[in-house]
């Protein structure tokens, strides 16, 4: 069962009026290594993973929806007051023509989100290594978005999200160790 909490996980602030950044941020909204992909990947894999790590996949998957909301907030703040001309100048005229100011699940190039971005092999090692790779790819993407941005407040939120990817990667690596170990001799902290 899911519950929604009516607050962001992190106080997102955007201080420069630069709708161009929305074009890049949407990569983490509807892109291959973005937060939607992460949430759906983990929440789906958890049905076929050993009991011991179902909790981790559930909890990280849920947190990714909170991050999706943060990205949506950034895009919303950057575009809500933009005129069609400003959106066109920002390079998202084609998005506007299809969606007005609505957000949508596509990447920075306009490719719509697809389940082809995720996988669930049913093999715990394959699935967990995919999850580690996903976290590293998301971490790298945040680095590239930070490189494109000159808004220090926005970058604080992006740094937060990148740091979360580092911690998630750590947890998935630990999950691999848990899966690897011999049940007979449990030696976990």
């Amino acid at each position: 069962m899911w519950l929604y909490e009516k607050k962001l996980q992190y106080p997102v602030k955007v201080s420069t009026c630069n709708p161009m950044l929305a074009k890049f941020l949407i990569e983490q909204y509807g892109g291959a290594d973005g937060e939607l992909a992460a949430a759906l990947r983990y929440l789906n894999q958890r049905y076929s993973i050993p009991d011991r790590v179902i909790g981790l996949l559930t909890d990280i998957g849920t947190e990714e929806f909170a991050h999706l909301e943060m990205i949506a907030t950034m895009i919303y703040k950057l575009t809500k007051d933009a005129t069609p001309e400003q959106l066109k100048a920002a390079g998202i005229g084609d998005h506007y023509v299809n969606h007005d100011h609505a957000l949508f699940y596509h990447d920075a190039s306009g490719n719509p989100w697809t389940a082809a971005y995720i996988q669930a092999k049913g093999d715990p090692i394959a699935d967990l290594y995919e999850d580690i790779a996903a976290e590293e790819k998301a971490r790298a993407t945040y680095q590239w978005i930070i490189n494109m941005s000159d808004d220090p407040d926005l970058n604080d939120s992006l740094r937060f999200l990148r740091e979360r990817e580092i911690v998630h990667s750590q947890r998935f690596r630990e999950a691999v160790e848990i899966i690897k170990e011999d049940r007979q001799q449990r030696k976990i902290f």
Partner: protein
């Protein structure tokens, strides 16, 4: 729709900070079932959170959906602003 006072942002951030500690400890404990000190820290912050949640909700309305927070009168779960508007 009433505008939010500056104190709102401060209280929100304090609540976000406590909730963040709880998220971090949750993920840690998911892979470290036997760390009793971490469990104690988690349960301590669960109690701390209750205080901040009550304070926030008494001033600014329910945080959680479907009865996990009480309602004001009239129904205020769905009143603006929403988190991305704040």
């Amino acid at each position: 729709m009433k505008q939010l006072p500056p104190e709102y942002y401060q209280l929100l951030e304090q609540l976000q900070a406590i909730d963040f500690v709880l998220v971090e400890l949750t993920l840690y404990l998911d892979t470290h079932h036997y760390d009793q000190d971490a469990i104690n820290q988690f349960n301590h912050y669960v109690k701390e959170r209750e205080k901040f949640k009550k304070l926030y909700e008494s001033n600014y309305g329910p945080l959680l959906q479907y009865g996990n927070s009480p309602s004001g009168s009239p129904w205020d779960w769905d009143s603006a602003p929403w988190p991305w508007q704040v």
